[in-house]
């Protein structure tokens, strides 16, 4: 009986090592597509004329253009009270931090009521609403920018509505307000998700104990519920700060140069071929972002692991139980909130579609007509729609092919228990914390311009570099959707398969993957959507080459005419939604296994 098993074929031997092979490939890809490029940027900033120096950093830190009055601090002078003088001119980095703080506050203001609604009330469509909060993550930011212009710009829908009531007009294009609103569009749902999840683990019996000891409902909230929510609120605030500190397409499309943030300026410096300063600035940005994240993680580590409740707080109905103020006030508040939420979250998308179909004379297909004319009759140097769509799709599928196996491999490697797993976790998830512009710049200066290895000069085409950057940005999402499922699987399922003769890889294929298939599909959808919407790395790498994608096309259009930009935005929205549906369908068949 055992002889049948001892006869190993070549195929068998490959199968047994397949996981190791995938692991090694993942490491090599990460090294080549992430760590090497990021390292290139570092070296770019540190090595000037062949010798190591920190002068690039010092120059940036001491330049009032970047750091305003704070620069004098770095230069060794004492700015004194000037530092806190209201209305003083902010340096570029200072301004970036300032708008990130405002965006964080706005996101909290818009996100916390949503968390309250999701965690404490039961109503029709609650689950759907909850799933929808993931959507902003995958909506291409440049498309959202177009939507905001179409909503809050001088010819936007908000002005149309105000005009109907004879209420004058606003123009938020090119203001800090519209940028902060757009940031809130992205990050408030994130705040809501994180805080609601934490709220749902608050133990009802803790609140009931406080109530029985004499605390009123409000007092019980402040004393029992709120302290359990602080870590989640702080975490979502830290993440929002980091995301908005590294903002790029939103500001590029919505603001003018007076509102430039760090990444916008890095991009401009690259355009001027000032790579050293671009790299230095990008590294300073990374350092600030990582310090905020690190400070948060230190705080989190200090929090003792609270016992999580087994019995969550019961959800209330949206219909008030009585006409008492205690019942009515929160619901009226939520009603007002939902109107504001409608304007911030729904209006931009609806306005974009509306704007793409209307002109000065009412309903029109002119903007789509324009895209077609540009395609058929445009000059070579002009951005054409079809190549943008084609490139986006090609990059999207190529990203999927790379990011999916990478993500699954990392998920498998990080759910097993072994020494050094934490390190693997950090090393493989680092791409989440590093902005696309650094990866893009690194790829450009390294592999795209050419690298000399053992006398051979190695080039990587722009298209390959774009796919690499997209895959690096997308695969952590595959890990995040696949790993929790794997973690929950009974390890004895795997052990049963192994004892029945299945190799590790075969057991993964036969048992684990079919059981976490919905997670794999969700990860694929994320990776694809991230690629379709990616802007920062693409705009750096696609420059000059014929590799622009839909987001790049929109950015080119938006500067000149809003109409074609909204039309292109609708096409992007359509392609993104369609790919989601297609991937869901494929997944649907398999999940029936």
């Amino acid at each position: 009986m055992s002889s049948a098993r001892s006869e190993r074929t070549v195929r068998d031997r490959i199968e047994r090592r397949i996981l190791a092979i995938f692991g090694l490939s993942t490491v090599l890809l990460l090294l080549g597509m992430f760590y090497y490029p990021v390292g290139t940027v570092f070296i770019e900033a540190i090595v000037v004329d062949g010798s190591a120096t920190i002068s690039v950093f010092l120059d940036i830190l001491r330049d009032p253009f970047y750091f305003g009055e704070t620069a004098r601090l770095f230069a060794g002078e004492s700015p004194g009270w000037d530092l806190f003088r209201p209305g003083r001119e902010l340096g570029l980095v200072e301004f970036t931090a300032w708008q990130a703080v405002l965006s964080t506050l706005a996101s909290l203001a818009l996100g916390l009521p949503l968390a309250y609604l999701l965690a404490r009330f039961e109503f029709r469509g609650r689950r759907t609403l909850r799933s929808l909060t993931i959507l902003p993550f995958v909506l291409p930011s440049i498309m959202v920018a177009v939507g905001f212009v179409a909503t809050f710009g001088s010819n936007g829908t908000v002005n149309d509505v105000l005009g109907l009531f004879g209420l004058g007009s606003i123009n938020m294009t090119g203001t800090l307000k519209i940028i902060i609103l757009a940031h809130a569009f992205y990050n408030a749902p994130l705040v809501a998700r994180i805080v609601a999840a934490s709220w749902e683990t608050v133990d009802a019996s803790a609140v009931e104990t406080a109530r029985s000891l004499g605390a009123g409902p409000l007092r019980a909230f402040w004393d029992v519920v709120a302290p359990q929510l602080y870590p989640a609120v702080l975490m979502s605030a830290a993440l929002t700060f980091v995301f908005t500190f590294g903002t790029f397409p939103i500001v590029l499309a919505l603001g003018d140069l007076s509102l430039a943030t760090v990444e916008v300026w890095v991009n401009r410096l690259i355009g001027r071929f000032n790579y050293a300063e671009a790299a230095g600035l990008a590294i300073i940005e990374l350092a600030i972002s990582l310090s905020v994240l690190y400070a948060y993680l230190r705080y989190e580590a200090k929090q003792s692991n609270q016992a999580r409740g087994v019995r969550p707080l019961p959800r209330k109905s949206l219909r008030p139980a009585s006409r008492s103020p205690r019942e009515l006030l929160p619901r009226i508040g939520l009603g007002v909130y939902s109107l504001i939420a409608l304007v911030v979250f729904v209006a931009p998308i609806v306005s974009m579609i509306y704007a793409s179909l209307t002109g000065p004379t009412g309903f029109t297909l002119d903007h789509f007509q324009f895209l077609i004319e540009r395609q058929t009759g445009g000059a070579d140097f002009q951005i054409q729609p079809w190549p943008a769509i084609r490139n986006s799709l090609v990059f999207g599928f190529a990203t999927l092919l790379v990011a999916l196996p990478m993500g699954v491999t990392v998920a498998v490697l990080t759910t097993r228990k072994y020494r050094g797993r934490k390190l693997v976790d950090v090393v493989t998830m680092a791409p989440l914390a590093v902005s696309g512009i650094i990866v893009g710049l690194g790829l450009l200066r390294g592999l795209v311009f050419g690298v000399e290895i053992a006398g051979y000069r190695i080039f990587v085409g722009g298209a390959i570099a774009i796919i690499a950057a997209h895959a690096v940005a997308g695969y952590p999402f595959v890990v995040r959707t696949v790993a929790p499922g794997l973690e929950k699987l009974d390890p004895q399922l795997l052990e049963s398969a192994r004892s029945l003769g299945a190799s590790r890889a075969r057991a993964l294929l036969d048992v684990e993957l079919p059981l976490v298939w919905p997670g794999v599909v969700a990860g694929a959808a994320f990776a694809f959507a991230i690629s379709i919407g990616e802007f920062s790395a693409t705009i750096i790498l696609a420059e000059g080459a014929n590799q622009y994608t839909m987001p790049i096309a929109i950015e080119r259009f938006i500067g000149r005419r809003l109409g074609p930009a909204t039309a292109m935005g609708v096409v992007l929205l359509f392609v993104t939604s369609l790919s989601f549906v297609v991937i869901e369908r494929i997944g649907g068949e398999h999940s029936g296994l």
């Binding site: 399922l493 049963s496 029945l500």
Partner: protein, 351 residues
């Protein structure tokens, strides 16, 4: 030439970081033997089974199958079938797909097709007609039998059962353990069984190893384990027992032991050292071996409570500060005198 043991562990140690799970255990399982590891939770019995299955590697020591060192071999190369506590049926496969899974990697034993093999096994575990069911639609006992069939399908040399019945109710457990024993004897397959239930261990096994705190306390047939416990732990863990400690005062055909208030005679143990007057010693008496009102070897105890069990009554008594247990035919009350035959007392240790 004597045949090699089917499974042999030699001085196996297993440490998890600084925690010692197994402290150098050794035992051998003969071909076709039903061998049970019994012990309280956390004693190391499941770790031992996982080492045999190849799911863990020993920190030191060797694991051999039929004289062949299998250390370092992954589970898929060990030719073992495993049934886990929670069955671990593949939820995305039907009953027959579950059973057939192992046949992807090896030919079925005998000259049969995969389909025929699956039918054979369904027949064996009495589940014919359940082929296309989802595991989720099965009862606990049915799941357990599917898990058994799946483990046996490729015709493994060794069957490992890790508390396969602990999730089932008492009546079903009793029926299933008969089924398991019958299947094991029909196939003549070497089986290692892990349980915390001493009654189950005694009922089902050829030999039993009592495991405690990472070491083996005693290995023997169920009768040996029950009648001649070698350590206080075995005496107390296997069945109910009353342990007495006293000083040897005289040596005769029997050993006379001073318990403080009373003096009793116990039969000498041939396995221990020659007893000496003045030594302290420990012996045990089973609850069912007490005879109420017997003059010889009697001790006086006070009845604390009694549980009516149907055919017998379980009586809790206090003797000095010590709790005693007796099984009697009728309920007792107040002060009673309990006697026992010297041969029914089993000496555990002398020191």
């Amino acid at each position: 030439m004597a045949s090699e043991p089917a499974v042999e562990l030699t001085a196996v140690r297993k440490e998890y970081g600084k925690t010692m799970a197994l402290d150098g255990i050794s035992f051998a399982v003969e071909p076709s033997e039903f061998f049970t590891l019994v012990g309280p939770s956390g004693c190391g019995k499941t770790t031992t089974l996982r080492l045999v299955g190849g799911f863990e590697q020993p920190t030191s020591g060797t694991v051999q199958f039929g004289g062949r060192d299998v250390s370092g071999l992954p589970p898929e190369d060990r030719d073992v079938g495993v049934v886990f506590q929670n069955y671990a049926l593949f939820p995305h496969m039907t009953v027959s797909e579950n059973i057939a899974y192992g046949l992807n990697f090896s030919e079925p034993p005998g000259d049969v097709t995969d389909e025929e093999r699956v039918s054979e096994l369904l027949e064996l575990v009495d589940l014919a007609g359940m082929e296309d069911r989802d595991p989720a639609a099965l009862s606990g006992g049915q799941k357990q039998r599917v898990a058994m069939a799946r483990a046996l399908a490729p015709g493994p040399e060794i069957l490992l059962l890790d508390e396969p019945m602990s999730a089932l109710d008492a009546q079903l457990r009793e029926r299933l353990r008969i089924t398991i024993r019958e299947i094991q004897q029909e196939l003549g397959i070497t089986t290692i069984y892990v349980t915390h239930d001493q009654e189950e261990a005694l009922a089902i096994s050829d030999r039993v190893a009592v495991v405690n705190d990472g070491g083996i306390e005693q290995i023997g047939t169920p009768e040996q384990i029950y009648d001649e416990p070698k350590t206080e732990f075995v005496a107390e863990f296997i069945g109910d027992n009353n342990v007495f400690t006293g000083v040897i005062t005289a040596l005769d055909e029997t050993v006379t032991v001073d318990l403080g208030e009373e003096t009793v005679d116990v039969a000498p143990a041939d396995t221990l050292d020659e007893p000496t007057v003045g030594d302290r010693m420990r012996f045990c008496v089973r609850p069912e071996d007490f005879v109420v009102g017997q003059e010889r070897n009697s001790i006086r105890a006070h009845v604390e409570s009694a549980e009516f069990l149907g055919d017998r009554t379980r009586v809790h008594l206090s003797w000095g500060g010590t709790e005693l247990l007796a099984l009697t035919d009728e309920p007792l009350d107040g002060e009673v005198s309990l006697g026992f035959e010297p041969a029914d007392a089993h000496i555990i240790s002398q020191y």
